[in-house]
Amino acid sequence: MSYHYYNEAAETMPREDLRRLQGERLCTMVKRVYENVPMYRARFDDIGLRPEDIRSIDDITKLPFTYKQDLRDNYPFGLFAVPMEEVVRVHASSGTTGKQTVVGYTANDMKLWGEVMARTLGAGGVTRADIGHISYGYGLFTGGLGGGLGSETIGCATIPASTGNTRRQVTIMQDFKPTFLLATPSYALTIAEFMDQNGISVNDLSLKAGFFGAEPWTENMRREIERRLNLKAYDIYGLSEVIGPGVAYECECQNGLHVNEDHFFLEIIDPETGEQVPDGTEGEIVFTCMTKEALPIIRYRTRDVGMRMKGECECGRTFVRMIKPAGRTDDMLIIRGVNVFPSQIESVLMEMEGIAPFFQMIVEREGNLDKLTVLVELTEETFTDEVRKLEAISRKVTDAIHSVLGIAAKVRLVEPKSIERFEGKAKRVIDKRTQVNF
């Protein structure tokens, strides 16, 4: 079998050359953040670390970690290593306490993003002759614009379909004949479902590849998507703090995700000790951006769980493969591709008068879509004898959750003390989905 690449020279670079390149890039980056990012300078000074102490990629363990909290503390632009006039793009993702996680890109960062995303698509055989249909949301979320950027970088005609209006999306797919699709796996199945219900044959579409990510999915779902949409389904991994989609990608072997290691350095650590664990061992995924200009994040604790695979891939890429995350180290949920923290629901409820702080989120998969139900305990202050007013309360909570999370939740008022307590606290999340990969 012959494999496809967007940038064969980079993707198959000998490991020794790659390590040397990583070392050089890390050194340059460390000097730059020391000079330009007050938080990093203070952290380095605290532990007596000088930029010149970093001489090779092995020295990365000397560097301090960066946590999600650091992004929040430096909201919105405090960790940027360039002046704002160099920044050409800003994205943001929903954070825990209502504060967003903000990321920025320079013109060079945008080129880099296009490159790594193009490699992602190229690994699935996409060339400039192809037509891309992007069903990730366009907006502050990195999925839509990042995915589209990769498609345009290759030179594909790119359809920024964004999310929603499945009927129109399917019509576009029938008429414009895109050959590859970017979407959340659950949305891919929604499309398949719609086609079934409306008697549209998969032969009316021209898709040959799909790139799915941003939410957990299983091998079963992969097989189902491949069968129903008649395409090859690739898993992709990314997070906005690193760059967005394009951090790691599957090749045609569909056996682990190759990390774009010339730009993003992957470590797997023991979350307790902070020490690196050997390849083939599960731990917390930690990423360092060696080449990004606007937000060169150092040893970012993703809280995703994963491992570095041992051995080489048949495709010839020398980039290490990452096994898809099996879970999270904290209680963040990904629902319909959106990051959801229980504390966001908590802060919504806190702002509403007379609602007990006790709630429970139940996540289920109904058909192919994630469904979120929020149980909220009713207090006597809120309780009224009128059905209409109670329904208005649950609607008000529904609306508030929707405006904060950006996804629809079903709110159910429940009796006081009916939610299971755990050490005095309500058990906040029950995830009934088959818990698996990201």
Binding site: E380, F383, V387, E415
Partner: protein, 142 residues
């Protein structure tokens, strides 16, 4: 005079109403009337009881969400058209009935109709003026 009614919030689950009757039984409270409003998601159980304070305590001690509210208790003859006359009086005065339930009262052998109107005070005045018999807490203590 308006009458105090007890309302209890219940989820739609098996045994929810039984939990209420069990708490009231333990407290030795007699239920004069009960009505359940149900929606797809939850229900409101409305009660007229003989010992109101005991009932409130018993329900709250069982972690239930309870409130009291005022309702009109109307005594009507057990004859055709009796309720119709009362509702006509309210309707003529532009008063809307939000909900209603009834029970047979051993006091006069007639029926007692519980009414919750959009304007309770106005309803009270209207019915009193038209000569209808309204019951108070004392009337249902027996």
């Amino acid at each position: 005079m308006l009458l105090k009614q007890i309302s209890v919030f219940v989820e739609n689950r098996r045994g929810a109403v039984r939990d209420i009757t069990s708490a009231l039984l333990e407290a030795g409270v007699n239920i004069r009337a009960i009505s359940i409003a149900d929606t797809a998601e939850f229900g409101i159980v409305r009660l007229i009881v003989d010992k109101r304070k005991d009932a409130l305590n018993a329900l709250r001690n069982n972690n239930m969400t309870v409130i009291e509210s005022d309702v009109v208790a109307l005594a009507v003859d057990d004859t055709p058209g009796a309720l119709h006359a009362a509702l006509t009086a309210l309707s003529d005065s532009d008063i809307m009935v939000e909900y209603s339930y009834g029970f047979v009262s051993p006091i006069n052998g007639g029926a007692t109709i519980i009414l919750k109107c959009d304007d309770q005070e106005k309803a009270l005045g209207c019915l009193t003026a038209k000569g209808f018999t309204l019951l108070t807490a004392d009337d249902i203590k027996f």
